[in-house]
Symmetry: D5
Subunit: 150 residues, 10 copies
């Protein structure tokens, strides 16, 4: 009898459980795969398909069953449940957009013309920057400029 | 008879009108004030109070009346109208969060512990990065890490 | 004891699982059935009833049980879960409507008079159009004009 | 005293009023400007900036004041008021997406891989196709494929 | 151990499954019960309580277990899930109200005075009316007029 | 200087004011125009364009200015403000749909096959039906059946 | 030139202003009209049409212009703006329903059978009931029972 | 192994099932407990905690297991699912508030001053009042007046 | 001709304008009136009625016209526009509730029994508490416990 | 086979069940852990991670299985289900914010300047304050002031 493919959400829960129980960091997984840290974490949380090679390697590293690997290879419906968007750690990013989005729009247009920063030809990086009054979280959004073109 | 202080939204419309009619860029205003580019633009769009000195200088530069300066000095109710959040240039930032927010949460916790990136002790920068296949928009969110502390 | 008919959503999950595991493309299924590609995919995802003949043939091709075929024959409640509408691949269509809908309304009226493009006497096609700077996705909506008629 | 720039919505109302009173069709305007029909209509309804040349020519053609031309040159906040999305002529497009969006997502991925149809490097066309049982509205969405690329 | 009464939604699913598998039409059920067609269908879909006699007869006709009959006898929480309201077959009724509701309000008041059409002392009928250019769906709402009365 | 065309909502308010002040019923207007009662009322409330002939005759009958007639000739964005949908006289229709919509869907499919009642090739009638226990409001929705057709 | 009829909301604001400035209570108005207190207040706030006699008498009592009387005679779109529903004095009624509505439904059915309390053949009363530990607000909803009747 | 306490919603379903199967009315339960009718029904539907004595007695009367009694003793999160609020029997109360809430606010203030009717020091009663033209449902809300007090 | 009473929102804007232009702090106003600081500020922002004495004194202090005083004496519809709730300074209070509300509910019940903290017999205080690592905002909610009482 | 980590919501249900069955108060748990009362309750309800030491001690005290302890150690997605926010005990806090939030914003700015009360470097306390006319619930929010700092 055919069974459905495990959902990306279930696969993510199993990856998180195995990762915590084995004491494996997201960085260690990214290093093992040779893939960027934010991409790797996002992919395992259900936002990107992995190649068979990548999915297999993660599952071997965390001793996860083949059904997880099968799920990780699928092309997901991307996006995040609204409830998580109000978690304080996440919400600060939402708030920053709510304050700075109109300015970013003005400045993208002033610097590049009528168009957008691609969210598809796009990468995100997170870094720690030491500072005297307390270390800082530095998140970089880096996307190709696409101009409106008929 | 007392009149209300001009709203920040009205002041922003007048700043935009004067800026466009005189051909003054946001960068030129920021340079005149000696303040960071994104901060300056956001402040003039209604998201930050300006000092009397800053508000006065902007109004002289753009030949705007004192009522605009008075408005620019007030502490605003921050935030952006929902309708603007679906403008494509703005929406790509919303979409990027919707795809990467869970990963950013995991990695803030892995790197810094249980806490958040401050959106108050915080700065944003926008830059153009040349690239062979097309220049890129690079937006940096840079906030102090605050850990949960009772 | 009577059991409910398998929901169209469950049937779609099983079709997707079997299709992926056997490496069968949507095009191959459409070809096997002799039905249009977008129609076939939409029907299998739960948006159209299939004839007994069609449902049976798909299930034999993918080795799916009779309960799936029974489900595929039912007349569905059509529509898509809101969450999927913000997946980036889907959202671009939503955004295009949000930008061009008022123009399309004006032009339907100018060209045809007071009425609508039917979404029932209607077909959709998706094609790849090669172009020097990168291939293009071409989606055609083709519906009978219906004029307002008392 | 500085006055705000006329909003794109007000400008659109004036364009519509002048167009109707003079009996000028959208096609005639597009022809005058030498620009595509859907683009021209969308731009005049407030979705795209026009060049000074284009805005000036439209205003001369419809005998509209300079304030309208000034508005038409601005870069707009794109999007459509929710209320208009339930007008029947518009809603049929929304409904078509609600029925076919999941199929379009599957087929974009099958044909092109993991990515999207751009809504920025993008054009829309509307045509009338004669058919024995009643003419058909044919709307074509044509956007460059962008693949997910880190 | 006490078990909950089967929900009206579950009972409706079982009625639909049995009806389809046995090839019994809604009309045939209504005829068997001697009850109006729309009432009967609505009741079996969970919108009205049935008498013990009616519930028993339906279950015998469709060979459904006593638990279904018990459920059909309960007084339901009436109403329909929002998701179904956007199914195209249903939505056309919603759209018709959205276009004609203000006119119906004016005319109820003009013809009857200040009051309402009861939705409780109320019946609905659906009929097919042959017409040269295609048969028509004719739905009649027929409710007692109730005038505002303190 | 160009002025915008009066909105359909404003025109409707003026029609209502003139109608009440002169003591002219909706029926009298419909009779004067020789158009169906519900159509006429809906059109004057902003849901349908009128011909120049019809708009002119209404304005002469109610002594309304040409600007109202101009507005009545435009093709409107159809639909009703959400707030009015909860007025009790209107809400009973909404409630009736909420109770009977699933049954109507089942029966449209059983009687006509997979398709819809058109809301475009469509008419509505309202009548008073005397009954011993109180007169009844009878509203008839009458639309052409359209079957799903690729 | 025709002017619109003053909205019921504007008329209510003027009634409230005149009432406060003259120190006239709602009770005094109800007494003057010989109408029930809650009905009178609701009618003046825009929820019921008044007869010409009633509207005229209120306007003379409060020295309000004829335009207010004209407005008070119109049949209103009933209902209350959502924002007012969260005023604490109003919200306690909302909360009481949220806690007791399911019980009221059960008990209406147990006592009367399958039906509703009419909100149209309906009256509301508000009284003060002295009690040792503080006087009590007693609000009575009194509506005719209507049973579901096809 | 610890098991969660049965939810109040599940307990309510079991109380309803046992009550119906045994033919026990809500009144009979209230009489058995010596508690007010509306309070008793609301409590059993999940809106109030019962004492151990009360919960035990209900469970013995309806032959329900101890797990139900344990649930009935817990302090609930009060409130009702939005879906039930549009059931017609419930909705009439919602509608009555929507029409009379502003009047009730005015009259509470006129009679008692600036404050509220408590929804906590509060009771509800439901009664049948015979009337020549049909019996009436009489629901009384009776709460202590609380005045705003700093 | 009667004019409406100035809305509490307009009055608040005028108070804010006069306060800022004259350099008068909220504390100075509270001191002048001899009323608590948070109460005074909330009242002037539109959340409480003032006595004639209080309203008069504020208007003399800020040189505001009688129309403002008249407005300040009215009993307001209490509550805050949703948009302001996402201003960061306000949102932190919302977030704190979203994190701690379930715990507060448990502890109110554990300490006081089944009931609530009154929001009517209630006061709020805001203080600055010096601390070595940065001063703290201390906000105290202080309301009478009310227990559920039938 | 890997199993997911028990969700914080499930763990909270088990803690509540064990706590009630054993008659252990939240205070007793806080005392056992030596942690503040509100923090402890919030943490066990799923809003804060516990250390291994804390989680272990709670589970031994309540005889809960290791799976609960594992869950309590995870970093949660913070926030509360919307439904609970309208429970009366919780809602009074929401209402207090809705009335006093604008005043708190003004006063935070007047006393501290442009910034916020941190909700991260933050603590909450709940106390009982005896008072002649009835004891009072006193809830203190105490957060570090953070000023807007680029």
């Amino acid at each position: 009898m055919t069974t459905p493919i495990m959902s990306r959400a279930e696969a993510a829960e199993l990856v998180k459980a195995a990762r915590i129980r084995r004491g494996v960091s997201w960085s260690a997984i990214a290093e093992e795969l040779g893939t960027p840290l934010v991409w790797t974490t996002a992919a395992l949380l259900g936002q990107h398909p992995m190649t068979a090679e990548q999915a297999g390697r993660v599952c071997r590293m965390l001793d996860l069953e083949e059904a997880v690997a099968e799920s990780l290879r699928t092309r997901p419906a991307r996006g995040t449940d609204e409830a998580l968007m109000s978690d304080p750690t996440v919400y600060r990013f939402v708030e920053a957009l709510s304050v700075y989005a109109p300015a970013l729009k003005e400045l993208v247009h002033e610097e590049f013309g009528d168009g957008i920063m691609s969210a598809i030809n796009f990468r995100v990086d997170l870094a720690r920057r030491p500072a005297p009054e307390g270390d800082r979280v530095v998140v970089t959004f880096d996307g190709k400029f696409l101009d409106n073109k008929w």
